[in-house]
């Protein structure tokens, strides 16, 4: 029997409670050795809620000699230091998305992992959806014909409220809705089509974090360019999903774990094809993608294979986010022009 892979969960916040810890406990290949959090009561409460008794510590350095890997699920501004501490000690890391605050930090993580011969994987969990892998394969095969345009959107009224509230600080999160929500699709977009040739961003930041944004992309390809648009909101509920327009029709994929790919061919009004994997199914059905993700990390560390998303890929997402912010402009937000005119007249 192979020994279980010993893991420390670094960060006892919301994402660990809801996703990473249950996945680690569900895997018969993982042994949760420690929970690390600067707020000890948080780590204690997480352990007691799951009825487990791991080492509880405020500093990952105190358990580095007892673990094979660290799952880093902390505010984004702490990813780099924690990852480098682990990697330099020969401990592989699975880092919750995004990889770090900036591409220079991301490069430091990727370079250290390479130099130390350890794995640095990035937690883009939506890559573990069967539909993501299948869609990539079909796009590469030209199954739907040449792609002309695509759009992706996801919007909620508020939502995710991390315990540390780091999501409301640019210093801690590295950005607003583009980073918090959009990065998942940016990763998939890079997976599908690679790095775009031109990008631009419109957002509603007024000195703080953007709550709404629209990113546009252009790929100069043959036989024709691909143009894309990604829309994210933390103030408006938007039906989440992607639509790809190809020369043959429209491909639709809702933004849920179990959604099927639907293809609506041109000229066949009222008909849609539902596309599901057959014998080539890559992931077992009904298994949490979080469990698949942690086991993919274990496989990668044990077998020396590439994880689903490595630090190089994670860093591509950071480069794209930086390029978008560098090309940003403000969205219009004057909903009451008449009120503004009256105020102006009074002045």
């Amino acid at each position: 029997m192979v020994d279980r892979f010993r893991i420390a969960l670094v960060g006892a916040g919301m994402i660990s409670r809801q996703s990473h810890l249950p996945a680690a406990l569900a895997s018969d290949r993982v042994q949760l050795v420690a929970i690390v959090d600067p707020v000890v009561t948080r780590a204690k409460s997480l352990a007691s809620d799951y009825g487990i008794n791991p080492i509880l510590t405020q500093d990952v350095r105190s358990v580095l000699d007892k673990i094979d890997g660290a799952l880093i699920a902390t505010p984004n501004d702490s990813h780099k230091d924690l990852a480098l501490t682990c990697l330099e000690s020969g401990v592989s890391v699975l880092i919750e998305k995004p990889l770090a605050l900036s591409s220079s930090e991301g490069s430091a993580i990727a370079e250290t992992a390479r130099r130390r011969g350890r794995v640095a994987a990035v937690g883009y969990v939506t890559r573990f959806r069967e539909s993501t892998v299948l869609l990539k394969r079909l796009l590469d095969q030209g199954y739907f014909g040449a792609v002309k345009r695509y759009v992706h959107q996801f919007g909620t009224v508020g939502g995710w409220a991390p315990l540390s509230a780091y999501n409301l600080s640019r210093r801690a999160s590295g950005g607003g809705v583009l980073v918090v929500t959009g990065t998942h699709f940016l990763d998939r977009m890079l997976y599908f089509w690679g790095y775009p040739d031109n990008v631009a961003l419109e957002d509603d930041s007024a000195g703080g974090l953007e709550a709404n944004c629209v990113a546009v992309f252009r790929y100069d390809r043959q036989p024709g360019p691909i143009e894309g648009c990604a829309i994210y909101s933390k103030t408006t509920a938007l039906p989440g999903g992607m639509v790809i327009e190809t020369v043959q029709g429209a491909v639709m994929l809702a933004d849920t774990e179990s959604a099927d790919i639907r293809f609506l061919p041109h000229g066949s009004a009222g008909v849609e094809h539902v596309i599901r994997p057959s014998e080539l199914r890559r992931f077992p059905t009904g298994v949490s993608p979080w469990l698949l993700q942690i086991e993919d990390f274990v496989d990668s560390c044990r077998n020396g294979t590439k994880p689903m998303v490595d630090a190089e890929e994670g860093n591509q997402s950071l480069r794209l986010i930086e390029a978008l912010y560098a090309h940003r402009r403000s969205q219009p937000s004057d909903w009451y022009p008449a009120l503004g005119q009256r105020k102006g007249a009074k002045r």
Partner: protein, 396 residues
């Protein structure tokens, strides 16, 4: 440094966010936005403000946050406990901090649904409410503020109707119900629809900061226009497919729909039948003890003979259902029945006491909502033809 420091509690909601944005734009006051959770505070996070999470159930926390505040505006909503105990903490902490104006956001709902015809004016008597209902909780809150004012905390109670303007939950609800064919106009749509634009309400709150009194009274704050439901629906039609036809309905249908929503009476017989129904017993049988009890029960019923057993089964489970095609979409009873309210609350008192005059007309308010909606849903973008498919899939 401004002379006033105004704490806005519940700052991440529609009214709280708008108020904070207005106050920051004028720069006339120091504003302290207090929020319940970081998850819903994105609109304020855009402004680069420092936001303070506050647990209203923790008196010490509330007291600490209100130190140095001259005014408090309560826009918070939450669980029953937050609404009552949280408000008690706010009032106590405000007195302790020497607050000179406590502005409480109440609702016209305290006058009941449907409200009495006399509630054109705030002087009308409030009906008795179920204590746990929203109306009941808001009425209890008003009483708490009135008591606190009598004990020396200068206060004001503002009662808005449905709130319109950009981000309006009410207008989004009507639009969504229209789009999903769950809305019908009462007859020709001439029933009154009393609204207040969020800018008008914030303007009234700002005026009330100067008018808080120990002899507090409720004040209606409205757009002061004779708006009808037909006008509201017409204002939303440009956001729906061209050629969209609004259905109409009768007073009788809406009255029945409202009655069915309100019929929360319980029946012991119905509950007992449910308890011994096959679905509940099946769930219970998963536990070994209940499985044993169930076996014994079945055994004792068998002793009564097959005819009696059959009779019992029919009494509990009823006859087999006949599958019928759906009768089309049902209306959103809660929303549609609002057309039966029939009262136009007057803001004459707010005009007199606060010097309130609406700053936004109903027409401008609807125009602002449409601008906001079209922009946030990207209806005028080059990708709308693709985005529309996602909306159609959602509705489908």
């Amino acid at each position: 440094m401004n002379a006033r420091k105004i704490a806005v509690i519940g700052a991440s909601g529609l009214v709280g966010s708008t108020l904070v944005e207005r106050m920051l734009a004028t720069g006339s006051h120091d504003v302290l936005p207090l929020i319940h959770s970081s998850g819903n505070a994105w609109r304020l996070a855009r402004l680069g403000l420092e936001l303070w999470p506050l647990n209203l159930l923790d008196y010490d926390q509330v007291k600490t946050k209100l130190v140095g505040c001259t005014h408090v505006v309560n826009c918070s909503r939450g669980t029953d406990e937050v609404m009552i105990k949280g408000l008690a903490n706010m009032l106590k902490a405000s007195r302790a901090a020497g607050v000179t104006g406590f502005i409480h956001l109440s609702s016209v709902a305290v006058y009941g649904d449907p409200p009495s015809p006399e509630s054109v004016s705030e002087d009308a008597a409030c009906p008795r409410h179920d204590k746990e209902s929203y109306e009941g909780l808001k009425a209890r809150q008003d009483e708490m503020v009135i008591q606190a004012a009598r004990r020396g905390l200068p206060s004001a109670i503002l009662c808005p109707p449905n709130i319109s303007g950009p981000c309006s939950y009410f207008l989004l609800n009507v639009l969504q119900a229209l789009g999903s064919r769950q809305f019908a106009l009462l007859e020709d749509g001439s029933a009154p629809c009393v609204l207040v634009d969020v800018q008008n309400l914030c303007h009234a709150i700002e005026l009330a900061l100067d008018d808080a009194s120990t002899e507090v009274q409720r004040l209606f704050v409205t757009d002061d226009e004779n708006t009808t439901w037909r006008q509201v629906v017409d204002g939303l039609l440009p956001l729906l497919d061209s050629g969209f036809m609004v259905e109409s309905t009768s007073q009788l249908v809406l009255s029945e729909a409202r009655a069915s929503v309100n019929s929360s009476s319980f029946s012991i017989v119905r509950s007992l039948k449910h308890l011994v129904s096959s679905t509940v017993r099946e769930a219970l049988r998963k536990d070994p003890l209940w499985a044993k009890v169930d076996r014994e029960l079945r055994k004792s019923v068998t002793y009564l003979g097959s005819a009696m057993e059959e009779k019992l089964r029919l009494a509990i489970e009823g006859n087999l259902p006949v599958p019928r095609p759906p009768k089309g979409r049902t209306i959103n009873a809660n929303l549609c029945a609002q057309q039966l309210r029939g009262v136009r609350h007057s803001c004459a008192k707010a005009k007199k006491h606060l010097g309130y005059q609406p700053v936004v007309s109903f027409a401008d308010s609807m125009e602002a909502f449409r601008r906001w909606y079209q922009a946030t849903h990207h209806m005028n973008s080059a990708y709308w033809d693709l985005l529309k498919r996602l909306y159609q899939a959602q509705e489908g």
